[in-house]
């Protein structure tokens, strides 16, 4: 893998490349953008290039020629710096044993001094930041001339962790490059944000995702469905595809779910909630087998969120169908069911239901009992205009 292979992120890439060519790299960046659009990949490949012993296309020291500004920018755009992929630094980075590349993620907790028996945390704890970030910053690089720190899931940094980072973010040693990966910029303190330069990552083309999913071995219809559901996040789509290929039957579960959403009685809601919960547990179990690095509780939450995402997509489609012709539906493969949902909720109601459903999504992160969440969710969507459940 190299920087060149990163697609659909031309803008962030050109910002980085230009800063690099002009030798004006910021000491700390925030890569902001949705999950699974290549933030970590970019950060890693960028680090690889920074640490590389003989980077390709590195701008040689030239005297400033009396060119006009535009032309000069054009020349610096032409030079695309990339790692060589064959030096010792690149090889070690690929093998995950580069001494100067420091990924920081919350699962590192178990490797901290007294973290051995602690449960995998839900936020990024201060111990991890102290031991794997701040302490490491003060040590000079060993193999390369730089040291790169990449903090994954920076939105999970709690206030104390962020405050603890401020000093380092403010003025890291010369050789330090820091990248925070963040899906929710509003979770970062203003003091953190003001110390970093933010680069926004956008969502990816649907076509590229479909192509990739098909390469992985998915059939046309599920591939298109997952690509649309992912909403431009290749990472998410790939994870679902992995699950599907591993036999988790996510696609079938989705079909059942949409089928039942199309019309069930109020009295059935609780049973359906139980079914949904069972399904979610099955999927989470399959997921946990695939992804051993992530904590179980995190996987459970992600599975539940996926299922809720599916429900939201159906409501969204229903809303779309009521207003437009229904082109580009996520659930294009189950149009009948969507039509029946659309028949029950007018666009305004759908919007309300979507808001409510997003609210339940938020509950997942606040440790609400999962069964209650599903029950509430399905009671709210059942065929009944007599009883109104308020949230």
């Amino acid at each position: 893998m190299s920087l060149k292979e990163i697609f659909c992120q031309d803008k962030p890439m050109s910002i980085l490349q230009r800063a690099f060519a002009a030798n004006k790299l910021a000491h700390a960046y925030i890569f902001a953008g949705p999950e699974g659009v290549g933030k970590f990949k970019t950060a890693r490949e960028w680090a690889k290039m920074l640490l590389c012993k003989s980077p390709v296309g590195k701008k040689t020291e030239k005297k400033r020629s009396p060119l006009s500004g535009d032309e000069q920018r054009a020349t610096s755009d032409d030079i695309f710096a990339d790692s060589c992929g064959s030096c010792q630094s690149c090889r070690l980075l690929e093998a995950g044993s580069h001494p100067d590349f420091n990924p920081v993620y919350k699962e590192l907790r178990q490797f901290t001094k007294d973290g051995k028996d602690k449960k995998p945390p839900l936020d990024l704890p201060i111990d991890v930041i102290r031991e794997f970030f701040i302490e490491q910053v003060s040590k000079k690089p060993t193999l390369s001339e730089k040291k790169v720190f990449v903090v994954s899931e920076a939105e999970k940094l709690n206030a104390s962790s962020q405050n603890c980072l401020l000093k380092v973010l403010e003025e890291p040693p010369e050789y330090c490059s820091i990248i925070l990966l963040c899906t929710r910029l509003e979770r970062l303190l203003p003091t953190t944000k003001s110390r970093c330069q933010t680069i926004r990552f956008s969502t990816l083309d649907e076509e590229r995702i479909i192509e990739k999913l098909k390469e992985m071995g998915l059939e046309d219809v599920p591939a298109q469905y997952f690509a649309r559901l992912a909403g431009g996040s290749l990472g998410r789509a790939c994870r679902w595809a992995d699950l599907e290929l591993a036999g988790a039957n996510l696609y079938r579960a989705k079909k059942d779910l949409i089928n039942s959403l199309a019309g069930y009685e109020y009295a059935e809601a609780l049973d359906r909630a139980q079914q949904l919960l069972d399904e979610s547990k099955k999927i989470a179990a399959a997921w946990a087998k695939l992804d051993k690095a992530t904590s179980k509780s995190d996987i459970n939450r992600r599975t539940q969120k996926t299922l809720i995402q599916i429900i939201i997509s159906a409501l969204h489609d229903a809303m779309k169908l009521n207003i437009t012709t229904g082109h580009g539906l996520v659930n294009f493969d189950q149009k009948e069911q969507i039509e029946s949902i659309a028949g029950r909720f007018d666009p305004e109601q759908s919007a309300e239901k979507i808001a409510d459903t997003y609210e339940t999504m938020r509950w997942i992160d606040s440790n609400v009992n999962e069964k209650l969440i599903f029950e509430q969710l399905l009671l709210n969507l059942a065929v009944s205009d007599k009883i109104v459940v308020s949230i």
Binding site: Q88, R91, L92, A95, G96, S97, H98, P99, L108, Q110, F111, T112, K116, R130, F132, I134, E135, V137, S138, K139, K140, P141, T142, L143, K167, P173, Y175
Partner: protein
């Protein structure tokens, strides 16, 4: 790779190497050691990315050069438990086969080439020191380093070459220890200006190497790392970034209240007077009058303690408070039977001197 090892020599090597292998690390390859066989010699490397050891193993016969990366604890356990005099190590497809007279082990390792490089010692040394002198110096300083300070520079020991001697300085902001170590040979001019901060962990490792009288340590100073070679071991360590405080400024030179005290007697007195300290009142008071020195401590809810000792003192009487732990720490490492205590005013630091080379500055505490 195919190499015959003398088991005892290999066990000794692994004993030292496993001390740097981290017990918990997110990078599994660091739990391994790298064994590289050249045409004639075999080197084993271990690192936790901060400190690395490159060990030249003695008593080996190389049949086929090569490289293998194997889990350190497994290999060490096999070598420790084996009874043979000679062990044959063979590398095959990323696995390592170990053969004794009646035993045969296969351990799976990592792909060669993925292990972080642990440098060996090449070229001329910048400075040379007797190992025992250096270890004595380390012992006198190491305790005063800060344990987890955000002022990174305090988490290490400063190496400074002055007047053809090596100065080791450590401080945590409340106390400062400085000692001087004689160099075995005059340093070359480039090295003479060097000022570096070596992490406390590396210094502690140096202190652990078994030494004989005549061992000489060769040191190479780089921008980012220090290489220390002693006999067949090369320790490499990265350095701490940051500016060490201007310590010369805080060593008082104008004190007139001087006492010479017995190390052992004072250690006992400080220990006893500290018995009744509590969370709220941690200090002990030193009251120096004509001919007596009184150590006392008073904690409102526990009680009070008083230990008296006769001294030969002619100056102004003075009372000063100290943290007893910081006092005990230094008395433990003083090698001489007597030391000098110099004081200025109640609110100025105490100065402890032992011999010509050791000096300790201790901040007073306000006893209210």
């Amino acid at each position: 790779m195919k190499v015959n090892f003398n088991r005892a020599a290999l066990a000794e090597a692994l004993g030292l190497l496993t001390s740097v292998v981290p017990s918990r690390t997110p990078k599994p390859i660091l739990r391994c050691v790298q064994i590289t066989a050249g045409e004639k010699d075999v080197r084993i490397c271990a690192t936790d990315l901060d400190v690395g050891i490159n060990y030249l193993v003695s008593e080996v016969t190389v049949d086929k050069p090569g490289e293998v990366i194997v889990p350190a604890d497994r290999l060490a356990a096999i070598v420790r438990e084996s009874v043979d005099e000679v062990l044959l190590l063979q590398a095959e497809d990323g696995a390592c086969k170990i053969q004794g007279a009646d035993s045969h082990f296969t351990i799976y390792g990592h792909e060669p080439g993925q292990y972080p490089v642990v440098p060996g010692f090449e070229g001329k040394a910048d400075i040379e020191i007797g190992l025992q002198d250096l270890q004595a110096g380390i012992e006198q300083c190491l305790f005063a380093t800060a344990k987890e300070s955000t002022r990174y520079a305090l988490n290490g020991i400063l190496w400074e070459i002055k007047d053809k001697r090596l100065l080791l300085v450590a401080t945590d902001g409340r106390r400062l220890a400085r000692t001087r170590v004689n160099l075995a040979a005059a340093p070359d001019e480039q090295a003479a200006a060097v000022k570096i901060i070596v992490p406390a962990k590396t210094m502690a490792l140096l202190d652990k190497i078994g030494s004989s009288d005549k061992d000489i340590v060769a040191v190479k100073l780089g921008d980012n790392r220090i290489l220390i070679s002693c006999a067949n071991v090369v320790i490499s360590s990265n350095l701490v970034e940051g500016n060490f405080p201007q310590y010369e400024d805080i060593i008082p030179t104008d004190y007139d209240k001087k006492l010479t005290l017995s190390t052992e007697v004072v250690l006992s007195a400080v220990r006893r007077s500290a018995l009744l300290t509590s969370e709220e009142s941690r200090g002990i008071r030193l009251s120096i009058g004509k001919k007596t020195l009184v150590f006392s401590c008073r904690a409102p809810e526990t009680g009070d303690a008083q230990i008296e000792m006769p001294v030969d003192y002619k100056g102004e009487p003075i009372e000063i408070g100290f943290n007893p732990q910081f006092f005990i720490d230094v008395l433990r490492v003083i090698q001489t039977a007597e030391f000098e205590l110099e004081l200025g005013q109640t609110d100025r630091p105490g100065l402890i001197k032992s011999g010509k080379d050791f000096l300790y500055v201790l901040m007073p505490i306000n006893l209210g």
